[in-house]
Amino acid sequence: MRLALYIGRRFLFLIPQVFLISFITFVLVRLLPGDPARLSLGPLAPESSVEALRAKMYLDRPIPEQYLIWLENAFQGDLGESWVNNTQVIDDLIIRIPVTLELIFLALILVFLVLVPLAVITASRTRNWIVRVFQNITFGYGMLAGALPDFLLGLVLIFFLFAGAAGLMPAEILPGPEGRLGILDFEPPFVTGSILIDSLVAGDMEIFWSGFMHLIMPVFTLAFVYGAPIFKMLRSQMEGALKADYTTYAEAVGIAPRIVLVRAARVAAGPTLVITGVVVMFLLGGAVLVERVFNYSGLGQYAINGIVTADYAPIQGFVCFAAIFTMLVYLAVDLIHFAMDPRIKIGGTES
């Protein structure tokens, strides 16, 4: 009941928020320099045909009307057409969204497999040498991850693992920045858009392996740089929970250490979850840079190309998707957090 009420309330806000997102995006993109009709037809086209195209694209109408037309089309799944490639934006997005999501989710999985156990270990109150070693490693990691830009780390990895560090190391340990697959590899038939899943569905282990090898460096880059806030938050929360009165008291009652640890972790999980939601938003931006470094044809590359060529519709589609996706992630995070923590009130704004 409490949960249902909360969900209802949040969805009530979600709808105007989504409209606001689409409107901001629309206005911003309309402000981009350049006349799309002229750009589409090229500099040599006669003025009359440019005018005709402008009318056809509703560019001669006032902005609010253009927005309503765009919104109506968007509801019917028509996000416009890229004038550079003459493709439907919605089709491009369907192909490219899974590429970027695959990177982001694999990075998050890597963070949770490696960094979460590390955070719990280093938060431990016992101070034996294993914990100390891990603490020193993670101290260095925290320093490095905060200072190393994602694109730089990507380049460093390429330099060492592909280029062989100017002869210091064997070259091509991992495939270079050539995208999701080698030049001679064929894309598996489109099912979900994820290279790993699609190649498995097609039963093509060779492509699976190639896709996997191509994913290692970009996923590691994202996980390394964007895992740091999650790691730091979880560790400090876990340290706090293990030091808290209730943990000492649970020990004093004689409750099994495993249960004491799980209950402390539950307290630490809430804020960690919230920060994870924010990190997913930053991962979308990070993916833009990392895709650029590794030549991944995902959403990020799509957006950069759109911006460089002043291609309205793709930018609009991408920014709108990114913002709505982030809103949904925030919503999911809030719902899980709400279900986990009985202290959160239904009303009230968070600080």
């Binding site: 380049l155 270079g176 008291y249 470094v293």
Partner: protein, 576 residues
């Protein structure tokens, strides 16, 4: 005050942080003077000198245009750091007043302002849900890639952060007494907000600034890296890395390497500078808890006259004690200063002993060392703790755990903070029961209800699903009491069991504790700062001062004829 804090912080910094601080000022120096001290022109191409490896003349080599990389790296901070700093300053200048205004409006109360606040926060959420990098990229594309526009874009995406933190800070600050006082003095709300409240919110803002500057520099470099930021030939690290990246794969590493190192070091030194600023702004945040406790113990120890006389111990030896503590000493692991020394006490079966003394005298450390719950930074240095014929100090953890609650039970201060906020009363009781016996969840629930009834909680079946924040302090204490006495233990150690409760509730809880414990034949060690409680509920009383027991005697005799000066001092305080 501010300079004093800086001085104090500088003294406590580890050496490497001082080094990084020096480097930070090095970057600031380059930001100001870099372009003038560069040995070669930074924007003039030399096609004959393309991509020369590092050498004497060009220590960092030359780039694809034949320009000296060292010169460009020296000149680049002017671009990156200035953009980062100015953009952050802009976000602060816009975001801070906005945050104050929203908070002031919101704190007026009433449905209108709540709705306004909720709407405002949701709109802010929308702006923040645009991925920062992409949003900045679009803004730069819209308004063009001049340095001014890059600054505006970066300032825009960072402004909501400042609105948020200032708003939440001011919201909590306007309810503080000093703001009330300013209001009572007849100041207008706006003036209170900006003159009285905002200065108190500044430390948080400054800490956030130091984080944001580093982030803004990274953002600048990232934008330039994808070609949506500063355009060549202006020396800028992100663009330099991008132009060098092409040659990385074919072994010409220097063109991307040196700008990369420089960018990493700039962001790193700004980050460390931010951490140092945090310490300057919030000196309390970094001092470790143990330091504070130790200092507190030392300070309070120094206030009163030194432990001047030999302890006055006038008790006959208790035969067959339940609990016997001898020569117990405890110290912080990294210091010689003892927190407890030469503690002796013996508690007979079914008896009750009070331990009194002011805060910081070591009472709670004594409890934790008897219960084997000392935090890792404290260690027992001497003596023994015996329960019946068990040596608790030598006992392994598993055996000790089996005895907890069943034989040795504990009640700790502030019951509400002793209960895990996310564990319901029922789950807590069930896990406590299941820790010591094989019992099904269903039977455990029945037992839990009985236990809550025993401690006088009305409607116990309902309470099982309650969480600690839904309990009153007295109710939480009763839950803890139920857990402490559920196995009729031989020994109950109650540390400030009534701290934070109303006087009437205090009596109820203590009376109940005594009744239940007497029924079960439980010996009690009651730690309290309240001499009245000790007098009323204990057979014997021990007085602690600065980590020692200075006097221990039967209650009546101790109160009628105190022999140690510190005991007299304590009693005088109460009797005034």
């Amino acid at each position: 005050m501010f300079w004093l804090r800086i001085q104090r912080t500088l003294k406590t910094l580890p050496k490497w942080q001082l080094g990084v601080l020096a480097m930070f000022f090095g970057w600031i120096f380059l930001t100001i003077f870099g372009p003038w001290i560069a040995p070669f022109p930074t924007e003039v191409a030399e096609p004959t000198m393309r991509l020369l490896p590092p050498s004497g003349a060009h220590p960092f080599g030359t780039d694809e245009n034949g320009i000296d990389i060292l010169s460009r790296v020296l000149a680049a901070p002017r671009t990156d750091v200035v953009i980062g700093v100015v953009a952050t300053a802009l976000s602060v200048v816009i975001g801070t007043p906005l945050g104050v205004i929203v908070a002031l409006y919101e704190s007026r109360g009433g449905a209108g302002s709540t709705a306004f606040a909720e709407t405002f926060m949701r709109v802010l959420e929308v702006i923040q849900s645009f991925p920062v990098f992409v949003f900045a990229m679009v803004l730069v594309a819209v308004f063009g890639g001049s340095v001014t526009n890059i600054i505006i874009a970066i300032a825009f995406v960072n402004t909501p952060v400042f609105v948020r933190i200032v708003r939440s800070d001011v919201l909590s600050l306007v309810q503080r007494p000093f703001a009330e006082a300013a209001r009572a003095a007849g100041n207008r709300e706006v003036r209170i907000g900006f003159r009285h409240v905002l200065p108190n919110a500044l430390p948080t803002v400054i800490v956030q600034v130091s984080v944001t500057v580093g982030f803004a520099i990274l953002l600048t470099a990232g934008l330039s890296f994808v070609g949506a930021g500063v355009k060549p030939p202006t020396p800028e690290l992100g663009a330099m890395i991008a132009s060098g990246a092409k040659y990385l794969e074919i072994g010409q590493w220097w063109a991307a390497f040196f700008p990369g190192i420089a960018l990493g070091l700039i962001v790193f030194s700004f980050g460390v500078f931010g951490e140092i600023m945090t310490q300057v702004m919030e000196p309390r945040a970094v001092r470790r808890e143990t330091d504070r406790r130790r200092e507190h113990a030392l300070e309070t120890g120094a206030d009163v006259p030194e432990v001047s006389e030999a302890p006055a111990v006038a008790l006959e030896r208790t035969s067959d004690p339940v609990l016997a503590v001898e020569h117990l000493g405890v110290a912080a692991a990294d210091s010689r200063q003892p927190l407890l020394s030469e503690i002796h006490l013996a508690l007979g079966a079914g008896h009750s002993m009070g331990i009194v003394g002011e805060s910081g005298s070591g009472k709670s450390v004594l409890v934790k060392s008897i219960l084997q719950l000392l935090p890792p930074e404290l260690a027992v240095t001497s003596g023994s703790v015996r329960y019946l014929d068990h040596d608790l100090l030598a006992m392994n953890k598993g055996a000790m755990r089996a005895m907890r609650t069943t034989q040795i039970a504990a009640i700790l201060p502030n019951a509400k903070s002793q209960l895990n906020p996310l564990t319901s009363v029922g789950a807590m009781l069930r896990s406590a029961l299941q820790a010591h016996e094989k019992i099904s969840a269903k039977d455990a629930e029945v037992r839990a209800i009985e236990l809550l009834e025993m401690v006088g909680i009305v409607d116990p079946a309902q309470r099982l699903s309650a969480f600690p924040h839904e309990l009153s302090g007295g109710m939480a204490q009763r839950v803890c009491l139920a857990m402490a006495l559920m196995y009729r233990p031989r020994l109950l150690i109650a540390d400030e069991p009534t701290a934070g409760l109303d006087v009437t509730i205090q009596r109820q809880v203590l009376d109940l504790t005594r009744k239940l414990a007497e029924d079960a034949g439980t010996a009690r060690l009651l730690i309290t700062g309240d001499l009245g409680i000790a007098a009323h509920y204990c057979d014997t009383v021990a007085v602690m001062q600065a980590g020692r027991i200075v006097e221990i005697d039967e209650t009546e005799r101790l109160f009628d004829a105190p022999r140690h000066p510190y005991t007299r001092h304590l009693l005088d305080c109460v009797r005034v």
